[in-house]
């Protein structure tokens, strides 16, 4: 009977669609402990002889998939797995662009990873929205707080309680080409101390062929901008004062903009734009290819100079200051390691957090990546300090500020940046633009 066949066909269809539904449901997360172990076994092909059998398997998400970084993170995970027999950490890599929304979805679905690397400036936001776990009971028990630089520790606190552990940080410094300095008649061992001196030195470093620049000494618009300079000019203060009141139109911030505009006027904004746009289209960094003599960057830019700089004779110095004694303020960023809210094995995950922020792992991380790490002792290790660039970067941390997003105005930069653009394009005066930005941010903060 044909109907019988139909019935069978229907049953098959139903089963098939059910199976595909289930497969779709479990697509994002690993399907249960069995699958997790199978995954882990497959993953451990990267050199590990440790087996996850009988252990608590932890899922650890990072975006470190590059050839340089992935082996480093996997070595650390592997060492941890070998060191004890109760926990097995499984490293999963997701691209930087996806990982945070993926984590958010996993947290809200109640099935988050056990350990997660995350952005240092948004810990409070996640803490306030139940996305990260409160770690105070572990921190009180194991007394890990003193490991970290206080400035970094502050970023993980929400209502006075920690929701993550600082992992690494960075600081912006000035890299300069010593040969260019010599050629221009400048002292290659002395980087300009104030912004005015820098501008004078930059003029000497510029090189022109006809009407076009073949080399530009320095522009604050190259890999840096007003968001960095305003903090330096304003004694290390970002866009909010101690009490949380916006200070976007403070006089020092206007002076920083004026400095950038004066520089642009001298060089011609068109020339600067042309240089900037061309950066993206060339393989080599403009500092490495000799088109720019002074370059602002985070300190692990050193690894690029080392690997691709072709023996370039360079020096590194703090950002200048406005006047003698005003302070060489700089800005830093970085990452934290945290336990997402709702993770199933926080006790075990905490063991891994402790391990990752302890001296040994942090020293290894710093050596291999040339990153500034959050652990003070690791950061000051004698071997690392024997490298003058690393030493300079650690010293620079003393006047480096982090700029965590305020809770009541997490997207305040969306209101400031357009005004900065308008001022840079000459569409509004510095004071009008900053006043407008100030008013917009005030409105945002007051929530009206």
């Amino acid at each position: 009977m044909p109907f019988k066949h139909l019935k069978k066909a229907f049953q098959l269809t139903a089963v098939a669609s059910l199976v595909s539904l289930l497969a779709a449901c479990s697509g994002g997360t690993s399907g249960g402990p069995a699958a997790a172990q199978a995954d882990a076994a497959a993953n451990s092909g990267s050199g590990s002889s440790v087996s996850p059998e009988g252990r608590v398997v932890l899922d650890y998400w990072t975006w470190w998939g590059s050839e340089t970084r992935r082996p480093i993170i996997e070595k650390l995970v592997d060492d941890f797995n070998k060191s004890q027999d109760k926990i097995f950490v499984k490293h999963s890599y997701y691209p930087y662009s996806d990982i945070f929304t993926k984590e958010l979805a996993a947290v809200s679905a109640g099935n988050p990873p056990d350990i997660m690397m995350n952005d240092i400036n948004t810990v409070q936001q996640r803490a306030s929205k139940n996305q990260a776990m409160n770690l105070s009971k572990y921190v009180e028990r194991d007394k890990v707080q003193d490991r970290f630089f206080p400035e970094l520790w502050n970023t993980v606190l929400y209502n006075g309680e920690p929701y993550a552990l600082p992992f690494n940080t960075d600081t912006r410094m000035m890299f300069y080409n010593k040969d260019d300095f010599k050629e221009a008649g400048l002292d290659p061992d002395k980087f300009p101390d104030t912004w005015d001196e820098l501008e004078q030195a930059a003029q000497k470093l510029d090189k022109k062929h006809g009407n076009t620049y073949t080399r530009i000494g320095y522009s604050p618009q190259f890999n840096s901008d007003w968001n960095l300079l305003q903090l330096n000019f304003d004694g290390g203060r970002n866009f909010f004062d101690e009490s949380g009141k916006p200070v976007v139109n403070a006089p020092a911030k206007a002076e920083a903009l004026q400095y950038i505009l004066d520089n642009a006027k001298r060089l011609g904004q068109k020339n600067i734009d042309a240089f900037k746009a061309d950066f993206g289209s060339q393989q080599a960094n403009p500092f490495l290819s000799g088109r720019v003599s002074i370059w602002t960057d985070v300190t692990n830019f050193y690894t690029q100079i080392r690997d691709y700089g072709d023996g370039i004779n360079f020096g590194v110095a703090p950002l200048p200051e406005t006047k003698e004694g005003a302070g060489h303020w700089s800005v830093g960023g970085g990452f934290v390691i945290e336990i997402p809210y709702g993770a199933k094995h926080p006790d075990e995950a905490w063991e891994f957090l402790k391990y990752m922020t302890d001296v040994e792992a942090q020293t290894y991380w710093a050596e291999k990546n040339f990153d500034n790490v959050a652990n003070k002792e690791a950061s000051n290790s004698s071997e690392l300090m024997s490298n003058p660039v690393y030493k300079a970067s650690v010293e620079n941390l003393a006047h480096t500020k982090l700029t965590p997003n305020p809770l009541n105005a997490p997207d305040y930069m969306n209101l400031i940046n357009p005004q900065r653009d308008a001022i840079m394009l000459g569409q509004t005066s510095i004071q009008d633009g900053l006043n407008k930005a100030q008013a917009d941010v005030e409105k945002l903060v007051s929530g009206k």
Partner: protein, 311 residues
């Protein structure tokens, strides 16, 4: 036992209802999928747009507050809506015209025409970040190929992606490059125009322009209409371009000139977790697109010509 006539009637009824049942069974995976993965989330998002939903911590009813904030207190909302409208209004007609022109050029018999058709269609197969990065290079003010070409003609090209007056135009220009998929549909519809109509027009002494105006164009109006409607809907969804091609990693920069509606919505949802607000924006966009599509449908009565008379 049963009366033979009744039995026959019952068999008849049950055959019909069996068929109906089988029909429903066959479409059930789709219906189930629609209810679970489309209708369900849609209703949820409508509800969430009246709450302060932030995905992980709270969901309290706040009435029309999100809509009020959106319309009265968020300057970036209007900015992003204006940006998107500008893009749609200029880009859709331009793309429609470009696609048609391309199809006309490629709708002829000559050696190698298949190759040309493929080449012009190719860009619409490519998509995503790679293409945008490529275009950022092409549009670079001094070293980019676009301005280099312009300079040969003695034109001093603009700073496409850094000057807020030009950024949206740069995106519109870039989008023209992908008119290939439209071209394909036009090409198909052009080849569907019966040749007897052209022959009749020729007998009446019509030139090329008249033939195009009085035969070709009316015959392909349904496809033009389709392209315009889907173009509008797709145009309102522009997002990636503002996210990827904005200057210096600030989404929407410079001066928020590339802050498109969906980009603003995305930033609200996933950067500051203001999901309720983002959902309110989504529903507002839905209303706008619905309204425009209805207007389009109404207007189509006056200019879209269906072969075989009124349907």
């Amino acid at each position: 036992m049963a009366h033979p006539q009744h039995a026959a009637a019952r068999r008849g009824r049950s055959l019909a209802s069996r068929e109906a049942l089988q029909g429903f069974v066959f479409v059930s995976p789709w219906i189930l999928g629609f209810l679970l993965f489309t209708a369900g989330p849609m209703l949820f998002s409508l509800y969430a747009s009246f709450t302060n939903y932030d995905i992980t911590s709270q969901m309290a009813w706040i009435g029309f507050k999100n809509y009020d904030t959106m319309l009265n207190h968020d300057p970036l909302f209007w900015k992003s809506l204006r940006n998107t409208l500008y893009f749609v209004v200029i880009s859709v007609p331009l793309q429609t015209a470009a696609g048609l022109l391309l199809a006309m050029i490629l709708n002829r018999r000559m050696p190698g025409i298949r190759l040309f058709r493929t080449v012009f269609y190719l860009p619409s197969v490519l998509s995503g970040v790679g293409v945008y990065v490529l275009w950022m290079m092409l549009l670079s003010p001094s070293a980019g190929l676009v301005n280099l070409t312009l300079s040969w003609l003695g034109i001093d090209g603009p700073a496409w992606l850094t000057d807020p007056a030009w950024t949206k135009n740069a995106i519109i220009l870039m989008k023209l490059w992908g008119s290939g998929s439209m071209m394909l549909l036009y090409l198909a519809s052009l080849q569907g125009v019966p040749s007897k109509l052209y022959e009749a027009a020729e007998l009446d002494g019509a030139g090329r322009l008249r033939k195009f105006w009085h035969v070709t164009l009316p015959m392909i109006t349904p496809v033009i209409f389709f392209e315009i409607v889907t173009g509008f809907i797709g145009g309102f969804q522009i997002f990636q371009e503002g996210y990827v091609m904005s200057y210096g990693n600030d989404p929407g920069a410079p001066m928020n000139s590339l802050l498109f509606y969906n980009l603003h919505m995305f930033l609200k949802a996933f950067k500051v977790f203001d999901m309720g607000y983002a959902m309110a924006m989504a529903w507002f966009l839905f209303l706008i697109v619905l309204l425009l599509t209805l207007i389009n449908l109404t207007l189509s009565r006056f200019w879209v010509h269906y072969e075989g008379g009124e349907q």
